[in-house]
Symmetry: D2
């Protein structure tokens, strides 16, 4: 990311759009390195991800100029020069957190893990070994509103760009989610929309499935129904116990969340309605 | 299969079971080539697939001797020396039928396609090019009971071992299914149990999924809920239209059904309750 | 493909390139539906695939105008409105041919199989069932030059756009290949560049590999060394005999060649040096 | 593993073998939970992995009794009740070490990481955060023999069961390897046997491959040629730079080594000649 400018645009489709965008970028003396486009014909909607060589001098002016060059209802995102900041929310399971923090430690994440918040204290020892602040905010003996308020206050000090639910097992209220629009990323057990709800691996085992999946998605008001970023599966067979399926599921969850985070951190994801455009 | 004897057994687990089975097979002067076992500890149930070098002289006697050597509630299957016979049921889509018939033609299926029955006449030309009888049994202007009776009568002449629903788009009644217990194999659009019902690809597209799957399963009374034999997926992305997803879905369906048929034809599948034990 | 114009371009990279291309296309009153670009920074080379709604009125004029608008050393391809024509070369194995011809028959290939040429006569019966001309050109009792001359003469009558080596087991001379520059597609046993040469599955079995692969590539003078279009693998294990690995290999070959053909037929592949840019 | 006995056997095949083994195990009052067998017909060789419920009272007596019950040239392994001990050898790359140590920390590895030895000091800080001894043994300014002697002496204090080369970039001499027969596990960049040697990703990039692989194998005298335990691949495309391919390669290496370690730790791997039998 060091010496690049990254631009994400979506707007209604129109003739000559690419020329207008390219001219505007040219005028800012940036050279387009990669340009990935997609037009949703049915919706007449245009999406583009542009990587330019060189850091833009005036981030806001470029954003303004691009917006002026585009049709109405355009959204333009020009990535700021700083690294993105991630706050990680956890419960007791470590597999996703472990992967994220090791990447953070060795600087292969290309983002800053600013804090970890757990509704249990289980993962404090691991987190603190890496000098990352860990906050225990219990959900016990308080209302959901109070619990979420406490989390929000804890997070506020860190100014995170994204909240990562790395196996955070509490359901967040629409009010909480509304404070972080399109900024909460969740990893969901099982291959959505199958086996929504409790004990998904027990359900999967009882059903005799031959695949175990995981889905990383943005969180919106509908539980487990936000825009999907990445999905993957691993094969299982009759000899796998529920416990084996859980183990396999954790491996998939870890790698799918890791992939989704890379995509978001590298500005490869545009949200559109309840779906994503992903420029891999 | 040419000079082998294939045995599938399931029974309650007990100490010394393997020795008893091995001794019985030894007494029939067969040499065990491969033996694949699985014990479901929770259910205390034992499953084994045995390949022996040499054709058994007396199929029925071996089955009887094995049953006598085993605990109660055992089921023993000794494969007959003849090739299995498949009847294929279709509607209009050709992708699964095409694959099965080409394998049949080049003798890589290791089974006999004895006939194709369609509730439309669309696939007659293709089928008859391979000198396989095609029967058009329309579902129009008759009751479901009459439609199924006509299919059953048509099939009766061919004595099929298995009915393969190769994109047969009519739902079969429990009465019909009961005539072919554990002998009907279906390929289901989409990754069960997600997107059950109509227009699964439209649902999948609207949901913005990143994977398209297919499931081959035995048909039981519950629609789409019988024991799963094989599942697989292929990746899709935002640029895929519903039509592209249908095309991808057909590829997965074709290869999953093909794999499931191979597993069943080679006697690698034991049904147990609503699940399968598959010795791949 | 029915009402679209497809454009593939590669040229040296330059500022304002996308604008120039978009303007030229705009001037031909075509609307860009999809535009997929790639810039190879190291080589300073620009690649783009453009799908336009509407059939271009003057194919040659558009090509000329685009070339004029671009830097030196540009290659511009504007797809003709007709379907591509494929000539299939085979030896004895049927798995790839079977798949191609069934797709052709059901019109899901989006190309015309104009003829099949075999150096053995084994696949005549299958081919002729689909009313496709089959030519037996034996390599026996003649020089390689004469053999290839006879093939070339046979093919000439059909004006094929591409030659597909669907398990054609004769090595073609550089002279023959030179007549069809970037127009010969081969499917190679095994995952190149591993196990080049004779008996690849025997080698793979002896080595105890856990994966079997296949590679589809354009044929150039270096045997098995042309630009790779697609690759895939399937897992194997210790219980697989050489024969099983061959069977698995055929499945991979069939699906990899099928994928490569789709990519080429849909003008998704640009050749650059000994590599390909594939806009999937 | 807590209350199980694990047995691995290989010997020449013979009639009645399974019965003899089952009887011997029965006599030790162990109940067979899972039994996975494989017969290599060509080599007339029999392999079996047996999981028994209950800890064996006399490990050595059971091994002796089994050996007596079997034909000549049998090898019998009865797993000791203690956890296996792993010594990890590294150079500078952290991706494999990070994964192993996090699993160790959270006790999901089912083995003990007793020490890390690096020929550079780069990974000390990470390792010591987990209270695992790190030894820096430089290869500089000393002979290979002296370097290896120093490693051997360092390791001796820890009594490791296995040496894991987690991106250890020095080639070990046959003398060193001979001290740890079938006890050294290596992860190899690239999909063996392709691209053996220096700069494999540069080679792969130049060749325009569409897949990147990794291979975990036991180390024998021949460099990179020992018995393969696990292999996997990930897709890449034209837009991947050498650097991207390296990143993808690291992901594959990490997950393949992780899988291979699980297989070895759970006694699922039998070595036979230059191949492995893996009971997954």
């Amino acid at each position: 990311m060091t010496n690049q400018t990254l631009i994400l645009i979506q707007c209604d489709d129109a003739v000559g759009l690419v020329a207008r965008i390219a001219n505007t970028i040219s005028a800012h003396r940036l050279n387009i390195v990669t340009m990935r486009e997609y037009v949703d014909e049915a919706a007449n909607r245009f999406y583009v991800r542009i990587v330019c060589a060189g850091k833009v001098e005036n981030n806001h002016q470029l954003k303004k100029d691009l917006t002026n060059a585009l049709p109405e209802f355009a959204t333009v995102h020009v990535s700021p020069p700083q690294q993105k900041r991630l706050a990680i929310l956890v419960t007791k399971e470590h597999h996703c957190l472990g992967d994220i923090i090791v990447r953070h430690f060795f600087k292969t994440l290309d983002a800053e893990v600013c804090c970890v918040v757990g509704n249990y204290d289980h993962l404090r020892a691991f987190t603190e070994r890496f000098d990352i602040p860990f906050h225990h905010v219990t959900h016990e003996e308080k209302s959901k509103a109070d619990f979420e308020k406490e989390i929000a206050q804890t997070l506020a000090a860190y100014h995170p760009d994204y909240l990562v639910l790395a196996k955070f097992m509490r359901i967040l209220s629409p009010e909480f989610v509304a404070h972080y629009p399109h900024r909460i990323i969740n990893i969901h057990h099982s291959f959505l929309p199958a086996f929504i709800g409790a004990n998904p691996y027990k359900q999967a085992h009882a059903r005799g499935v031959k695949l175990i999946g995981a889905t990383a998605h943005f969180v919106t008001n509908d539980l487990d129904e936000g825009p999907i970023i990445a999905q993957d599966i691993k094969p299982v067979n009759h000899s796998h116990t529920v416990k084996d399926m859980v183990r396999t599921g954790k491996e998939v969850e870890k790698s799918v969340l890791s992939k989704a985070l890379s995509l978001v951190i590298e500005d490869r994801v545009i949200i559109t309605g309840n779906k994503t455009v992903v420029f891999e």
